[in-house]
Symmetry: C3
Subunit: 206 residues, 3 copies
């Protein structure tokens, strides 16, 4: 963490948290949850992936070290309350922020794991867990099968971002280049997947 | 823990465990689980909240330190087997014990967290997790959306109990006063919510 | 762990992992998951029980120490892709391997817990968790109520295997005898349960 009041990285992380929370709040609302329930689903969607990662890595879950993530979820509630009617028309900006948030979450997950001296395959797994588990928990809460395994390439984008990180690292690229390449990979795959309706083929049993 | 064979606190905790277990056992039975499955759902309902709390706090899950919680679940099974037909008529006493158990679980969660030097907002969150996560897991097992976010004010009662605890603490009240005020808050809110059918408003998306 | 390149125990563990993964992959496929989603469900089915056990015991989750479990899941994917059509006819060998894997998972869970100086009732619980939680997570992912609590005696077989382990231990039997007796108990109960369609009675509420 820098000494700046709010670094660019923190700003992106908080925006990602808000956008993830909003996706949980909206789906919970559609299922008839009361507003406190919607808050909880939003919070879990936002912090679930990082929490499972931190439990597996045996470090204190990140959101227990700063109330910022609760505030971000509250802000997400307020956004849904106020801009409810307009949110539907804001699908594009939301998608962009969701993709940026996902890219950052993956990079954060990878770096935290590497800092703890785990090998790269664990780091890629943790980056993917950071990115997708919140969404899996959200869908579990609202009693649907997980969307991340059915909609446009989402979970695999995390793995590919992680693979690019590893490739850059083994090519001895500068640390920032590794980070940015990985994030850009996640972002670009998500944008292309949405634009061209890329889906992974379904598993078929004949 | 005192040196008494069974303190009042322990007695309440075990009764709360039994009542929580019974709620899990009955819902599992309604879903066609076999009796071992019902036992597991009852056990998870009773200890799930405290287990997640202990994992997040990185301490040994409380039920691994004493077999009492397994025995409480077994007792819950026996109660359901024997008093099955009468249980429906016992809804009122059950509700009372459930509310007392909830109040105690919240207080236990808060104190355990404060003992580990976490700030109050973490303690309130952990108190709430202790109170509600077992019920969320139960509903997840039986494949329903979580009841605690839809029925009479339940999860919010935990948060309000925690807030009262914090208020008493900052007003330098005696420790027992903090505990009792918090527990009373949870209990009273639950009783009023049931009596007057208080519900939180649903999140609505237009 | 021995110094042999692949001990009998490791071979059984990997085969168990592959078979557990295949059960997850096939159920995910039946629910319309894409292939990456099916991979994740297969992986979680194979490692979920041991992961929860290791989190509760506060040790590093076993699969983070070796990529072998990811490779086993990949192998499971390949088996499903290639032998898809034949798999249905292979139900018997699959059942045998599933039962052997289950038996081994239970024994591994018990021993890991005893090594950490927990009492036997915790070890039996952890053995059961190792055996069944992966399947519970799988059914949760695909949005079904857990099969392990409804089909032929499955979860209880784990408990009985653990009980036999404890009995042999207290009778001062040789360590290998304890292991083999426990594993044989799980295996035999599963085979008898399938052969004679043993089910536990359902909990009934009148």
């Amino acid at each position: 963490m820098d000494s700046l009041p709010l670094t660019l990285r923190e700003a992106i992380e908080y925006i990602g948290t808000i956008v993830f929370a909003i996706s949980g709040i909206r789906l919970a609302a559609a299922k008839g949850f009361d507003w406190f329930g919607a808050f909880v689903v939003g919070f879990v969607t936002a912090i679930g992936g990082g929490t499972v990662r931190d439990l597996l890595l045996d470090v204190t879950p990140f959101w227990m070290l700063s109330p910022a993530y609760l505030w971000c979820t509250l802000l997400g509630m307020i956004v849904v309350f106020i801009f409810n009617r307009q949110l539907v028309r804001l699908d594009l900006p939301f998608f962009i922020f969701d993709a940026i948030g996902l890219a950052l979450f993956v990079v954060i997950g990878i770096e935290k794991t590497l800092d703890l001296k785990y090998p790269f395959w664990v780091a890629i797994t943790m980056g993917t867990i950071t990115g997708i588990v919140g969404g899996v928990m959200r869908d579990n809460f609202i009693n649907e099968t997980p969307l991340v395994f059915r909609k446009e390439i989402y979970a695999l984008a995390c793995v590919m971002g992680g693979t690019v990180f590893a490739a850059c690292y083994y090519l001895h690229f500068n640390h920032e280049v590794c980070e940015l390449s990985a994030a850009a990979t996640v972002l670009i795959i998500r944008i292309l997947a949405i634009k061209f309706h890329w889906h992974l083929p379904k598993m078929k049993l004949r």
